[in-house]
Amino acid sequence: MSHEATTRPGETAAAAGSGEELRPVPFRGGGFKHRPLGPVAPIVFLAILALWELGARSGFISPIALPAPSEALAALGDLIATGMLWKHLGASLYRLIVGWTLGSLLGIAFGLLIGLFSLARAGLLPLVSALFPIPKIALLPLFIIWFGIGEGSKVATILFGTFFPTVIATYGGVDNVDRNLIRMGQSFGLSWLSIVRKIIVPGAMPAILSGFRISASIAIVLLVAAEMIGAEFGIGAYILMAGALFALDQLIAGVAILSVLGLIIAWLIGKAEKRLLAWRS
């Protein structure tokens, strides 16, 4: 964080000397602003990778503990060369997109209900609190019976995982909308629907979007759990297979793909934030 004040000492001193009628006040706002520092992130990444490679090559890191990044890269190369990468990615992206979209839409709907209606809050909020902490992985055997070992149980795992954080982010966002704005709307005689549409939903949007960041990451985490059940293809299934065969290079390659997936999704949500929250600037 950079918070250098934008004072210009020479100017202040000159103003103070020239008497009372001219005393320009230096601009003390600003600061606490993030400057975009583009090259820092790649440099940190590359430095860690270089250290890791060096450690693995020199034998400081044993091959059982961690394979060299170059080996993981080779495994990734194999995946691309055989065309399996697209099969795995396609299967996983389908589950992620369907599960996360349905989970988020349902989550926003329930979150708005809880945020807007007292009856819904009294009835549903304890339910959400009771169901949120249940580890979805523990329910896998039940999911098999309920949703089958096809796509159903995989999508359901991700759906349940993303639903609850979205509900909480949404109703929290609704609760935090500036009451003065709502009252102003009411004094101007806006209808209830207008207030919801023009004040509450945009006001809750920042919270919903940061909820998306969390739920998207949870969806990626749950991908491995979801693909535990009878998945032939998928990044999670690939990672599980690599783990079972103790093929560490493939394991790291799979984990790296998940990381990249996370980065891409975070970037997309960043774009969405810029667009949807344009009204703030």
């Binding site: 059982i64 055997p141 059940i229 009878g230 599980l240 783990g243 103790f246 093929a247």
Partner: protein, 338 residues
């Protein structure tokens, strides 16, 4: 972890005057990895009956949920000895030069009931009456490269259809496979007789064949340790095998050949019950422990041919690095081979 065993040993040591003559510090401390399965009981019996103490070994048991983490713990040196099926993970670790198979344990023999091939009732009604009908059907496995995967492909090989025509479904854990089979999500599975027996007694699962018809002298599980133990402490390995061999002899006599007196057998079952089905009262656990025990090779003898066949399968499916050899995987200097 099980500190009970050490305490028990302490009590034994205090009760005997002879214990004063041989200080406890003389015993070598070893950790043995076990799963809560009846097939792991030779170590439990050897410990409870003092066969390890006779070999001057101070044993501590470490419980695992699956074979794979046990293999990794042995590679890292946290656990010294273990007994599990030959998995892709184990071979991969052997290729890296950190673990070695030193003996055999559970083996399919024609005269003893072995692993069963099961079908879900829905699949059975749909025409899966024998393993030959598994062409085009789904088969539950825990993970890619597990013993279940191997068995599925051996059935395909012997019945003469392509391995890809039996659709293996990785479900990670045995309970998940059971749930899938019972609900008809998968068509078939193969499993040791005591679990198979419990399943076929219900209406949802039907037995359609036996694994021993498809794999000759299948060496289901093996005894393994770290390469460091093999090269640096061969004497320790020999003493462990001597102790566990006595446990194997008792296990076979009590549960497989049933030549032991009922009184002694009950005593053995009680020992096993401390670690296996320990969440159930002994009256309930007793028949489950006794049912369908498979033979464990005397003196931990190893069927090299079977291990080789399994290694070849792993290689043919590209599940292990190409360079793995039998020499890297097995050290045959400790036990009798056949």
């Amino acid at each position: 972890m099980f500190t009970i065993s050490r305490r028990l040993l302490g009590v034994l040591a205090l009760s005997g005057a002879a214990a004063l003559a041989t200080p406890a510090s003389a015993a070598d401390k070893i950790n043995i990895g076990i799963l809560s399965l009846v097939s792991h009981s030779p170590s439990i019996i050897a410990q409870a009956r003092g066969y390890f103490a006779d070999q001057d070994l101070d044993v501590e048991f470490v419980s695992f949920q699956a074979a794979q983490p046990m293999a990794v713990a042995i590679a890292s040196g946290d656990v010294d000895f273990g007994m599990t099926a030959i998995s892709g993970g184990l071979i991969s670790l052997a290729d890296k030069g950190v673990v070695k198979i030193i003996g055999g344990a559970l083996q399919e023999t024609p005269e003893i009931d072995g692993q069963k091939i099961l079908a879900s009732k829905a699949a059975f009604d749909d025409g899966v009456k024998t393993p030959a009908d598994l062409k085009g059907r789904s088969f539950g496995i825990t993970t890619t490269g597990s013993s279940f995967h191997y068995m599925a492909h051996k059935i395909a090989d012997k019945e003469g259809f392509d391995r890809s025509e039996i659709k293996v479904k990785p479900l990670q854990k045995v309970p998940a496979v059971i749930a899938s089979l019972k609900s008809g999500q998968i068509d078939a599975w193969s499993i040791v007789p005591n679990i198979a027996g419990a399943l076929t007694s219900g209406p949802e699962v039907v037995e359609i064949g036996r694994i021993s018809d498809y794999i000759d002298n299948y060496q289901v599980t093996t005894v393994f340790t770290s390469t460091a133990n093999v090269t640096d402490k061969p004497d320790l390995v020999k003493r462990f095998l001597a102790g566990v061999s006595n446990g194997i002899a008792d296990y076979n006599a009590a549960l497989v050949d049933k030549t032991m007196s009922e009184e002694e057998t009950a005593e053995i079952v009680a020992m096993i019950h401390k670690y296996v089905y320990s969440d159930q009262p002994i009256e309930k656990a007793d028949p489950r422990i006794r049912a369908g025990a498979m033979r464990i090779n005397e003196n931990a003898a190893l069927s090299v041919a079977s291990v080789e066949d399994q290694l070849e399968w792993f290689k043919s499916e590209n599940l292990v690095p190409e360079g793995v050899t039998m020499e890297k995987l097995v050290d045959t200097s400790f036990v009798e081979t056949r």
